[in-house]
């Protein structure tokens, strides 16, 4: 299995690069904190209403953070002139995408798990009784964001105004993920929590569809 071993090696490279500096994770965590504080000024955080909005805010904050986190994904390779080398050393270009999107999913999930207790305290949301289900939604949602985001950051890295372009391409495409994830999370954080399996199934379908699209068309995204 050359695809799997290539992807694993590249994933190791992505993780090593990040954990040497921890730039991406630190910046994203601080960014989410700033957004959360800003949110608290735009509505009354102590009211009962805030419980209804908290899940939505959670996903908006994560989405904005993701659009920042995905920026350097291919830009870093381009700035260091390492993209051609990467393309040369793997047989299947999908390995590059697989490694990058796995790394992005892991980073996103890690940030979200770090922020969950903070949200729980600041907005008085009991996250721990439904922790397992929350992790499932967060995982499927972050996977969807990373699949589409990794593909699009390969596109935006080759254009002008790339910092602005990526969110512009990303957010409309991610509408289904936002709708489904928020839907499930609102249910889980309800006074009487319930699991919306339809939303979970939907997220899984989205992930599979776009993973397949990336597998089919990914190699063209990296053409010289």
């Amino acid at each position: 299995m050359s695809l799997l071993s290539n992807a694993t090696a590249l994933l190791g490279k992505e993780l090593r690069t990040e954990f040497r500096s921890r730039e991406l994770l630190t910046t994203t965590v601080v960014f989410i904190l700033v957004v959360v504080v800003l949110f608290s000024f735009t509505f009354d955080p102590g009211s009962n209403e805030s419980r209804r909005f908290a899940a939505n805010l959670l996903w908006i904050a994560f989405l904005f953070a993701a659009s920042l986190m995905l920026q350097p994904c291919f830009l870093r390779e381009q700035n260091n002139d390492t993209l051609s080398a990467l393309r040369l050393c793997v047989a299947d270009p999908f390995a590059i995408f697989a490694a990058k999107l796995t790394a992005n999913t892991l980073f996103l999930l890690l940030t979200e798990l770090l922020m969950l207790p903070v949200f729980s305290i600041l907005f008085n949301m009991p996250v721990f009784p439904v922790f397992g289900q929350l992790v499932l939604v967060l995982f499927l949602g972050s996977l969807g964001v990373s699949i589409v985001g990794t593909a699009l950051s390969a596109i935006s890295a080759q254009a002008r105004m790339r910092e602005l372009l990526l969110p512009l391409l990303l957010f409309p495409l991610l509408t289904p993920v936002v709708v489904a994830s928020t839907y499930v999370t609102v249910g889980l954080l309800d006074v009487a929590p319930f699991m919306e399996w339809k939303g979970i199934g939907f997220l899984a379908i989205f992930d599979v569809v776009f993973l397949t699209a990336l597998w089919l068309f990914g190699e063209y995204l990296l053409e010289e």
């Binding site: 254009a159 512009l168 569809v209």
Partner: protein
Amino acid sequence: MSKRVLLGAAAVLLVIAAAYAAFFVAPEERTMGVLQRIFYFHVSCAWAGLTAFSVGFLGNLLYVWKRREKYDWLGVSCAEVGLVFTTIVLISGPIWAKPAWGIYWTWDARLTSTFILWLLYISYLLLRTLIEEPDRRALLSALFGIFAFIDVPIVFGAIRWWRTQHPAPVIMGGPNSGLAPGMRETFFFAVFAMHILMWFLIAERYSLEKMRGDVELLRQEADAT
């Protein structure tokens, strides 16, 4: 007379005839009255827009596969023309909705997904302006176009969980749906007219894009000599 003059004249005459039929031939709807007549333009533009985007999607796929410039021209022409029709849909919808529903806009499945569709193709055209090199622009925008087109039905499915206020499909919508005689003929005539107009606009836009490509080629040749 050249083919494009004929096609253009046909498109204009057909749209005028469709307007006449919508206002004077089709029977008055029982509850909505004259207001319902906007339906002939609103729905036919929506269909023409979706046809344009579907043809554009084919163009995008063919470009990625065959790498011929003409498929890139087709893709961008269809996206622009589809965007024009979708804009008409997004404007004529609220004009109808205000008297019928009492509000201009509601975040219902069909409205929201049309809005997202519109945003996606705006992003597509924007992306094209931000990549200089023609081959790269063609390839990357074709790929984004493919992703966007795949996304549209998923967006629609996702937003359908919200309460839907848009009228249920009248055409092919189930046993109790369907149009009264007179309305049906007018409607399908309007759809036909809009598609001819769409075809004409895409053909014009395509030849413009082709000219641009030719000019670019000539300029490169001139630079080389």
